[in-house]
């Protein structure tokens, strides 16, 4: 599996906190101050109660593999050269389920329920933004 450089992410004011947090090596999630719901993807309102009173917080970065697939075919660059790669949903300790990649492990060794921690790939960009893509790797 070739080393994959993830495509550039694009942020809005609603989602910027997540990507900037990732650039600091933190998994940043959103919590509603009105009803305590933790939500992802980040957005301008709480999707449980529609309150606009939201805060970002640094999550533990720990979770488990909820499900996954070893992708053997995706002809779009840069993924074509990275096949087979592991796409997965990770169930975070805080509740939200994140679409991600599992890295740092033989794809054939990945299992549902495996304990994982967040891993961050900083993006080389020319637009001045400091963002990173969130992946997960097996917990020690």
């Amino acid at each position: 599996m070739a080393d994959l450089t993830h495509p550039k992410v694009h942020a809005s004011w609603e989602t910027r906190g997540y990507w900037e947090g990732a650039a600091r090596g933190e998994l940043v999630l959103q919590r509603c101050r009105a009803c305590a719901t933790v939500q992802h993807k980040p957005r301008g309102v709480c999707a449980t109660c529609l309150s606009g009173d939201l805060e970002h917080f640094v999550a533990s970065g720990r979770g488990t593999v909820y499900t996954f697939t070893v992708t053997h075919q995706n002809q779009a660059p840069p993924f074509a050269a990275a096949c087979p790669y592991v796409m997965a949903y990770v169930q975070t300790e805080e509740g939200p389920r994140l679409l991600t990649h599992i890295v740092g492990v033989d794809p054939e060794a990945v299992q549902i329920g495996m304990a994982v921690v967040a891993d961050f790939q900083s993006q080389e960009r020319t637009d001045g933004e400091q963002f990173a893509v969130v992946r997960f790797r097996p917990a020690d």
């Binding site: 992410v9 499900t67 697939t69 992708t71 053997h72 995706n74 779009a76 993924f79 509740g95 990649h101």
Partner: protein
Amino acid sequence: MSLSGACAIAGVYEHPTRWAPDKTEFQIMAESAKGALDDAGLTINDVDGLFGASMTMGAMGIVELAEYLNLKPTYIDGTNIGGSSFLAHVSHAAAAIHAGMCKVAIVLYGSTAASNAVAIGTGMGHGSRNPWDSFQSPYGMTTVGSYAMVAQLHMQRYGTKPEQLAEIAVTMRRHASMNPVAKMRTPITVDDVLSSRLISAPLHLLDCCIISDGGGAIVVTSTERAKDLRRKPVQILGCGESVCHQEIGAPDLLTMGARQAGELAFGMAGVQRSDIDLAMVYDSFTITVLSTLENLGFCKVGEGGDFVSGGRIGLGGELPVNLDGGGLSSNHPGMRGIFLAIEATKQLRGECGERQVANAKLAVAHGTGGTLGVAHSGATLILGVE
């Protein structure tokens, strides 16, 4: 009067093309409209309700379609919720006719996905500048990959076997072999499926739908009016819709839109699962069929592997599924929901020759739009003849 049974499908047409580099989407829709209106014994001048969707129609698409057809409808609906759109159109048309807002509705679909070389299920993950998409696109999220994650979870949790998914593909191919216009008609075996290359584990090439061009049309009118037309009316007895996503309060990945939409449709129709003679369900991938049958309530979630085994979903089985060969073998132009209602209608009219389900009186059609495993829509119809 209740909506159940108030309206009927009076005409249908499945465009026979599977490869149409010389046609446009609107041309395929117009040819299909002619076919379905001829089938019903109506003309374009009778149409006052226009419903349609395609993979390329944008915000003004339905208006452009009305212009192309020189129609001035009193009711317009360009709802696009993916491949299930056309089943939703049929129920919206029934509601509109029942409410007196139009009298004869036509539902249209056309696609040149294959001749335009659209990679429907793979080859995704770059190019989007939409911030919302940035939670998927950096990961190379493919359509097949998302369904594969559903299959992986089902296998791990319930011990569902690749052989059981493969039997679905084998069954659809057997049905396609009896459909003269199906694209893939040569029978396959479970071994053929399992030895085809892995696209996104655990799904193999032959677990995936084909890509074709195609289109179709459905004419809906009141049951009363349909009784005076050329064909036996196929009554719209129940309908339901839903949206399912993986966001806040994330539902289980094995719960799909078919659950809510199916419950609504069966509830409106007042019929039981055991009353159903045949099912037409969206088969983008083999796992879609298994999960849809579970969520529609034909078996419990987790029992789908056994349910699809032993010939149960084949012609002559307990619940024949996708008699035309489905998207796995007949045609898949990207949004194939319309063909589910078209084949169900032909089966209920008893016109399907070699692949005809004997004495078919009641059918369910369920479309899934978007992607199982992420956000998707569901639309269910219960159709029946007297």
